[in-house]
C-alpha cells in the first residue's frame, strides 16, 4: 500500500517545485545563450511562461516577447494581449507570418496553415540573430513533443534532428551551437495541462476568456480560428476547468485539426521547425 498523502500539500509542493525548476531553466537560457526571445501565443501555457519570466527577473523581462502573428487569431486573443503588454512592461514584438502559399504544399491543409508560423519564426530568428527561443510546449500535449529536451538544438534551417539529441540530466543543459543553429528552450516541458491551470489559479494569472466559453462549449487549446474548434464543456470558471480536467480522459488537443490529418502530420511539422 502506498502512503497516504495530503493532496493539497502535495499539490502546493509540486507547483513550487515546477516553478523553481522553470525559473532555473529561464535564467539558464538567459545566462548561457543571451541573445534570446520568448514566444507568446497568448494561450494559457505561454502566458504562464511570461509570468514565470517576470518572477525569474524580478518584474522586468530582459528579452523580447514575440507573437508569431497569422492575423488569424481570435479577436478575444488580440484583446487579451492588448490588456497585458503595457501592464506587464513587455518588450512585445509582433512578427507577421508569410502567407500559406509559401509553405510546403505536400502538408495536409490544417498543417499548412500551422506551418506559416514555422516560416514566421525562421524569419524573425534570422533577422534578429537570436540563438535561443524560449517557448511553452509541454511533453504531455503530444507524443512527438514528449520526446523533446529542455534545451533542444535546431539546425540553421530550423529543422529538428531528433535522432541526435544530447543527453540531459541533473540540470545540466547542453547549450553548444554550430554556426547558424539556435536552441529551443522549453521551461514548461515537465508540466501537465492540469499543472498549468492549478498554477494559473494559485498565482491568479490572467487568461484569455475563450477558455471559459458559454456553458456549453469552450476552447481547451487555442490555435488559429480557421483550424481550431471548441470542445463541449460546461466549465465557466477556472475551478470548473480544473474539475473537468481531473475527470476527463480526452486529449487536450482534440480541437486542433492539424494533429489528426495524417499519422505523421505533427512530426513533419515539428521536424521542419514548428514549435
Amino acid at each position: 500500500m502506498g502512503p497516504m498523502i495530503d493532496l493539497k500539500l502535495e499539490e502546493a509542493s509540486r507547483l513550487a517545485a515546477l516553478e523553481s525548476e522553470s525559473i532555473f531553466i529561464i535564467r539558464e537560457a538567459y545566462r548561457r545563450v543571451r541573445k534570446i526571445a520568448m514566444l507568446w501565443s497568448m494561450g494559457k501555457d505561454s502566458t504562464a511562461l511570461v509570468w514565470l519570466s517576470r518572477k525569474a527577473f524580478l518584474g522586468t523581462i530582459p528579452f523580447p516577447v514575440i507573437l508569431l502573428d497569422t492575423e488569424m487569431e481570435f479577436p478575444e486573443v488580440y484583446a487579451f494581449r492588448d490588456s497585458l503588454v503595457d501592464c506587464w512592461q513587455l518588450d512585445y514584438r509582433s512578427e507577421l507570418c508569410p502567407p500559406e502559399s509559401t509553405v510546403d504544399r505536400t502538408l495536409p491543409p490544417a498543417a499548412r496553415a500551422a506551418a506559416r508560423k514555422t516560416e514566421g519564426l525562421r524569419n524573425v530568428i534570422a533577422r534578429n540573430g537570436w540563438q535561443g527561443i524560449i517557448l511553452g510546449i509541454r511533453r504531455d500535449e503530444q507524443a512527438v513533443r514528449a520526446k523533446e529536451k529542455v534545451f533542444s538544438r535546431r539546425r540553421p534551417d530550423g529543422s529538428w534532428d531528433f535522432r541526435n539529441q544530447s543527453a540531459e540530466f541533473w540540470h545540466y543543459y547542453d547549450t553548444g551551437l554550430h554556426d547558424g543553429e539556435h536552441l529551443r528552450i522549453h521551461p514548461l516541458l515537465h508540466w501537465t495541462e492540469l499543472d498549468v491551470w492549478l498554477y494559473t489559479r494559485q498565482q491568479n494569472i490572467p487568461f484569455c476568456s475563450l477558455y471559459l466559453g458559454d456553458g456549453r462549449r469552450r476552447f481547451r487549446s487555442l490555435g488559429e480560428k480557421n483550424i481550431t474548434h471548441p470542445i463541449e464543456s460546461s466549465a465557466t470558471s477556472i475551478d470548473e476547468i480544473i474539475a473537468e480536467l481531473r475527470a476527463t480522459n480526452a486529449p487536450e488537443r482534440a480541437g486542433r485539426l492539424m494533429d489528426f490529418e495524417s499519422e505523421d502530420a505533427f512530426e513533419r511539422l515539428r521536424s521542419g521547425g514548428y514549435m
Binding site: G2, F169, N249, D264, E267
Partner: protein
Amino acid sequence: VNLVLVGHVDHGKSTLLARLLVDTGAVPENKLSELEAICKRRSSQVELSFLLDAFQIERDQAISIDSTRVWFSSKHRRYAVADAPGHFEFLRHVVTGAADASLAVLVVNALAGPSEQTGRHAAILSLVGINNVLVAVNKMDLVAFSRERFEAVRDQAESLLANHRLSAHQIVPTAALEGDNVVRHSDRTPWYKGETVLEALDRYEPLPARNPPLRLPVQDVYRRDSERLVAGNLQGGPLAEGDLLVFSPPGLAARVATIRRFGEDHKPARHGEAIALALDRDIFVEPGYVASRAEQAPYVTSHFGASIFWFWRTDLLSGSLNSTPVPQATQTISRSNCIDVKSGTGFEYEPAVYASPGGTWSSNDNPGFHPINTYIYDEPNQSFTDYFLYQSYGGYWVTVATLNWSWHYEASRALPSLPDSEAWPTPVQLGGSAPAYVTLSSSPLPSYNSC
C-alpha cells in the same frame, strides 16, 4: 514517484509501459481508436508501443529512439515514467531518463534472458545512484508461462543486479502485450503468488528526503538599479535575511541583506526555491560559486579521481581531452581502466579517470599536476549532484561520474596558494557511490553526443 524503464531493445519496454497506461486508464479514449486505425493502415496487429513511439521511424523499425516521459496514476499515487530507448546507439538517453528516477523497472525477455545491453543499463543505473530495481521477466507467453524458465531468468537477473550493486525490489513474470501480472494478476501463472508490477510499484517507499546542508549555487548575478543580486535555486534552508553566508571557493563571507522575489520580499527562503539575494557588503561573486553556512561549508578541491561514463564515439584516450570548466582553465583527463560501453567491460568501480584541472600530463605514472582550477563538492552521499563541479558550466561534453577520491580543502578557509604535486596530502577515499557529473570536451568546438 519518478520511474525509469530500461532493458534491451525488443524485450518489450514500450509495450509494458503502454500496458500500464491502458490498464490504469491513463490513455485518452480516442488514443486507442487512433492507434487501431493506424495499425490497420499499416496492416499490422495493434502495437501498444505506438502509443509511445511517436516518430515514424520508430514505428517503422519498432524501436524507441529517444526517451519519452509519460504519467499514470495508481490508486495510491502518481508516477512519471521515462521510457529509455533500448538500442545500443541511444544509451545516452538511458542516462537522461535514469538521472531523475528513484526506482528503475528493468524489462528482461523471458526467452532470451538478460543480455549484454541489460548489463550496460544496470551499470548506468548504478552510476547515477539508483539502488532499487523492479524486474519484469517479460514475454512469458513465449516460454509457455514456464515456472522453470522464469526462475532461471530471475536468478540471472538477480546476480546481474548484484554485480552492479543494485538490489531487486521485486521480480515479476509478465506478458505485457496481454497484460499478465502488469496491473491484473494472471491466471496463466498460477505458480506465481507475488505482486503485479503495479502492486510492487505501489509498495516502493522512496527514501525520506534528507535535510541537506544549505547550499546556494550561484546561477547568475543581476544588476538591478544600484543593487547586485545573486540568483540561484536554494538547497537546504531555510535562509533568512541577516544570515551569514560563505561563498566557495574563495571563502568570502557576507550577510543576506534582502531576499528578493517578484512581488514579495523578505520572507525566509525555503528549500528548492528560486531566489535572488542582495548582500550586505560588496564582495565579488560569480556564477559557479556556492554559498553555504560557514560551519557546513562544502569541500574545495582541484584534484579528484572518478569513474566516468564516456558518451562519445571515439575512445577516451590518455591526455587527449581538454575540458573547459571555466574560461581561463583547461583540464586534461587521463584514463586507467575506463568503462567501455561497447564491450560492457570495465565496470570495476575502481578510480577510472584521473582529472587534473590545468596543464597537461602524460601518463598516470607521472601525473605532473598543475592545478589552476577548483571544484566544489560535498560529502559522499549528500545530494550534491546539482552543484558538484558547478564551475564546469560551459563544458561541451557531459558525462556521468562517480567520485572516488580527492584532495580537498575546507572551503570555509580561503583557498591557499596551491602546492605542487609532491606536497599534496594523501587522497581522501570517498567510498560510497555518490554520482556527479563532469563535463569534458575533445575539441574547442561544441559537437554532438553520438551514442
